[in-house]
């Protein structure tokens, strides 16, 4: 990135906003069963908070989540999703058949737990990919991530 537009006011505002954006993202993904929201929206909110920090604070904020971490997250998301799908093979179910997991709960709650797992996978993957695209677009002057 050529320059950032940091100023004390923007800096303070971004620092104040970021934790609440993370909290809201956690709420959106966990409460997605009862209210509008889900993994995709939560991932976008997390990515928006990290992009905000990068826009305002520049290279200082890269330590929050480096581009390599973002790449790792982007790969971990689909891995978690597919892993949960494949894990249901081992309990005698079909691919992505979460009802077979041996949790001590009601059958519908077991399915809800499986759904929560894949929503977290979607959120992690989407957040990683969006931060990665931003870093690729607005990379540092020396061409490195």
């Amino acid at each position: 990135m050529r320059s950032t537009f940091g100023s004390p006011v923007l800096d303070a505002a971004a620092r104040l906003l970021a934790p609440f954006m993370w909290l809201f993202a956690a709420y959106v993904v966990i409460h997605g069963h009862e209210s509008p929201g889900g993994g995709f929206q939560a991932g976008v909110i997390v990515a928006a908070s990290i992009i905000l920090l990068r826009l305002v604070r520049g290279r200082l904020a890269a330590s929050v989540l480096t581009s390599r971490d973002a790449l790792t997250l982007a790969c971990l998301g689909p891995l978690l999703y597919g892993g949960i799908g494949i894990a249901s093979f081992f309990f005698g179910g079909n691919f992505l058949d979460y009802g077979v997991f041996p949790f001590p709960m009601e059958p519908s709650e077991v399915r809800a737990m499986g759904t929560l797992g894949i929503e977290i996978g979607v959120a992690v993957g989407v957040a990683g990919v969006l931060v990665l695209i931003f870093d690729a677009l607005a990379r540092w002057e020396d061409g490195t991530l």
Binding site: P36, L96, R111, G114, T144
Partner: protein
Amino acid sequence: MIRRLTVLLLAPALVVLLQAAADLPEVGDSTAPAFAHVAPYYLAHAHEETGAANYVTAVLADYRGYDTFGELTVIFTAGLACLLILGVCDKATPGRDGA
């Protein structure tokens, strides 16, 4: 000249589209074709089967989980394609300048 030609060509298209839009079912019409097949089953059983009060999540993440997996794969592939096209790579990685 080109602009006038465009308007001339697009005006009939607008008329046709508005004509077609008039035949679309009303918003929330329960007899619409989209609500005729699986939607009643989802409305009746989604809560007890998946434990989700938000039926959009129930359909996206549970009944149609395989679709969502494909969607996540598409997003992941798009991110990798962005990295490749924008030519981002670490200077320390060999292969960029023949190093």
